[in-house]
């Protein structure tokens, strides 16, 4: 890389050629307030004008997020002209913004409020006509409120980059511009997979998960038996909401907090994950030995299932018929557990804490009900759980580490934990499938080839008693599409494929804490590049700490089959733990 000499506020620096002023300034220790620029130019349109600076060789002020450094350039960030211009830009954004900040769930994590504070912008500096706004709260998973939108375009970029989907776009022009699915449709009536990647990158409250906290409050008040269960990926990220370094597992404190919120039972969805492996592993064995549809594809990720139903209706027989772990566990809570407690399933209310917003959609599916009773009644995200904990005045950091309730499903294996990261379901399944086919455990517990923490495709071949099983893993629909098109063309060489909706898997789900440098002052500058790996590591280390590493060795799973379900894929298991899919029209 060639270097160029620049000066910032009169001090000389050498920086890499080709950098934008914003990046160069950061390398030299200056954080220029910015809004639309995001993640190494993932979104870089220079539209918000918040990052204006003075630079020699340029006409007037320049947007530092798009203007490249040049040899000899002198940059002024704190000149009165630049400071005033940045303040004005923010004041203009505020003049057309719905400023009901107290009611906004983004409060505390709002980047517009952040840059307003830093630039000293006044909220009522300019008054005038407001753009017409649009509110979409029809979809179960997410809400779009254009009265909060700053037209930065991050959501549009993320949907295309992660999934190649491009659900969102700019509509109309000038003052009437807003961000929306085509035809200003609801997410519910467009081929949106409701994964929430757009929610994760939105700087304001324009895109948010649809909160179900009030639903949980009502259930707790109603006298029902309210059970809460948390997915593996939640423990790897919840700590971030309470000031822990990214990648700190906070399992014990999370359990303690949920118990203090008043839930009758606090269960780990890892048990459901182990159950999924028993069912899915058995299903794979059947397909391998009895000539079923191959490759079989995992079905744990509801974002991915949505994508399949919208875009690959012809390939639905490839999907495992297994419900996702929290749905399976919900069904068991409302049958096995309720039966043991002598409760009517109708009086049991199951809350899932998920790193995912598509789970909010999934739980509403007709195919996810047993005798008309939904497996899961409410889904809250990692972020919503943090809000509930803060609202209750619980000092998270001072909580003791507690254990999961262990009456019928407290045990879990290390295999269940790693479901939260891309490749995890595959690894967990391989541990069990190997055992089922050979009668002995694989000498290596860890299948390194399938591990990862990012989007893209990984593949591996495992020799099981002379039979070679080819597997592939993809996360993010852009990667998944490559594998799916191979199946469609008949060129796929795999027997088993794991697909997760979000790039990196659940650790990077649409319900996880927002990762923003400006709100994580103690993290390294490159936190946007490393947070997925750090969260994944938190899960892998929990797997290593478990004495039981394989789902089929979980004693309470064995007991559940002996006492209640019979065999994996039994009639009863099918009734409770399996589901079906149907192709959907893209624009209804």
């Amino acid at each position: 890389m060639s270097k160029v000499n620049i000066k910032i506020e009169g001090v000389a620096y050498q920086v890499e050629a080709g950098m934008t002023i914003l990046e160069a300034a950061k390398a030299c220790g200056y954080e220029i307030p910015s809004l639309c620029a995001f993640n190494h130019g993932e979104c870089n349109v220079g539209s918000c004008r918040v990052c204006l600076v003075e630079a020699t060789g340029a006409r007037g002020l320049v947007a530092s997020c798009v203007y490249p450094v040049a040899e000899g350039m002198e940059i002024r960030i704190s000149s009165p002209k630049a400071v005033e211009a940045r303040r004005r830009s923010v004041e203009l954004l505020l003049s057309n913004h719905n400023k009901n900040c107290q009611q906004c769930e983004k409060n505390g994590k709002c980047e517009l409020l952040h840059v307003a504070t830093i630039t000293g912008a006044k909220e009522d500096k300019y008054t005038g006509v407001q753009s017409e706004t649009h509110l979409d709260q029809l979809a179960p998973a997410l809400v779009r409120d254009t009265s909060k939108c700053v037209l930065c375009g991050r959501c549009i970029a993320r949907c295309s980059n992660a999934h190649g989907l491009g659900i969102l776009g700019f509509e109309n022009r000038g003052f009437r511009t807003f961000v929306s699915p085509a035809e200003n449709r609801s997410f519910a009536n467009s081929p949106c997979i409701q994964c929430g990647q757009c929610v994760n990158v939105c700087p304001t409250g324009a895109l948010m998960e649809k909160s179900e906290i009030t639903k949980v409050d009502a259930a707790l008040k109603s006298g029902k038996h309210v059970v809460i269960q948390a997915a593996p990926a939640v423990r790897a990220a919840l700590g971030e909401e309470f000031g822990y370094p990214v990648g700190t597992p906070v399992t014990g404190k999370m359990i303690a907090a949920m118990r203090r919120l008043g839930f009758e039972r606090v269960y780990d969805v890892n048990f459901g994950a182990d159950l999924t492996i028993m069912e899915e592993g058995t299903e794979l064995l059947h397909r391998l030995t009895e000539g079923g549809t191959l490759p079989m594809i995992t079905s744990c990720s509801p974002g991915w299932v949505n994508y399949a139903e919208y875009n690959y209706g012809d390939l639905l027989p490839h999907l495992s018929s297994c419900k996702s772990p929290h749905q399976m566990q919900g069904a068991i809570i409302k049958s096995y557990w309720a039966e043991q407690k002598g409760y009517d399933p109708k009086d049991v209310f199951v809350v899932s804490v998920m790193p995912c917003i598509a789970k909010k959609f999934e739980k509403e599916r007709e195919q996810e009900k047993v005798n008309g009773i939904p497996d899961v009644d409410a889904v809250i995200t990692t972020r919503e759980l943090a809000r509930m904990i803060k609202r209750a005045g619980i000092m998270f950091n001072r909580l003791p580490d507690e254990e999961w309730d262990a009456d019928i499903m407290g045990d879990y294996s290390g295999a269940g934990v790693i479901f939260g990261v891309t490749g995890g379901v595959m690894e967990a399944a391989l541990r069990t499938v190997y055992y089922k086919l050979t009668g002995k455990e694989h000498e290596q517990i860890v299948f390194e080839a399938v591990r990862g923490h990012d989007a893209g495709i990984r593949e591996a071949s495992i020799d099981i008693n002379g039979t070679v099983v080819n597997v592939a893993i993809a996360s993010g629909m852009k990667s998944a599409k490559v594998l799916l098109d191979e199946i469609r063309e008949g060129t796929s060489k795999y027997q088993f494929i794991e697909i997760m909706g979000c790039p990196g898997g659940c650790i990077n789900g649409g319900g996880q804490p927002y990762v923003r440098s400006c709100f994580l002052p103690n993290e390294a500058d490159d936190i946007l590049d490393t947070y997925k790996e750090k969260r994944a590591q938190a899960l892998y280390s929990e797997d290593e700490r478990q004495t039981v590493r394989q789902s089929h060795n979980n004693p309470q799973i064995i007991e559940l089959y002996e006492k209640f379900l019979g065999e994996p894929n039994s009639h009863k298991a099918h009734e409770l733990l399996h589901t079906s899919y149907a192709a959907r029209e893209r624009f209804r």
Partner: protein, 160 residues
């Protein structure tokens, strides 16, 4: 959602095919479709999306950005009233208001019988003959409010 007939699908595929080797074919494809059918509904945008790999939302954004493109069918006669600066100071607003009054539609709308669409245009480059009105390519120079009823009546008579 309404389904397109086979012939329309073939025509749209053919139009997309014309620009296979273009780096940025979208504007050309949309222009041809607009000229062929007079509008570009979502069903058509879906086919264009499939053929070009450009997302439906982005195509929709382009269609709603440029006033030349339309999402709804235009009338047989498209009355374009220029509201550019020169025409405006010469009374174009009164002219378009008169068309509105007689046809009982607002600018951007089409009459129920599908005969007329009224469009407000920005400078059509005919400032010397302001205020100018263009109907299906025929330019009417130095329009006055008094000219409007006869023009509408003439077109209606043609159809009677």
């Amino acid at each position: 959602m309404a389904k397109l007939n086979e012939k329309a699908v073939q025509t749209i595929l053919e139009i997309c095919g014309r620009y296979k080797n273009e780096k940025t074919p979208l504007m050309m494809i949309l222009s041809d479709i607009q000229n062929e059918y007079g509008y570009i509904p979502l069903e058509v945008q879906e086919i264009v999306s499939q053929e070009t790999g450009i997302s439906v939302a982005e195509i929709y954004g382009v269609v709603t950005f440029y006033s030349f493109f339309s999402l709804t069918p235009k009338g047989k006669y498209v009355i374009g009233c220029c509201l550019g600066t020169a025409c405006y100071v010469k009374g174009a607003q009164q002219v378009i208001d008169k068309f509105s009054e007689i046809l009982k539609i607002k600018p951007g709308e089409t009459t129920e019988d599908g005969l007329f669409t009224l469009d407000a245009l920005r400078c059509i480059g005919a400032c010397g003959i302001a205020p100018a009105v263009s109907i299906n390519g025929t330019v009417y120079p130095k329009m006055s409010v008094g000219d409007v009823p006869k023009i509408v009546a003439d077109y209606k008579a043609k159809e009677a």
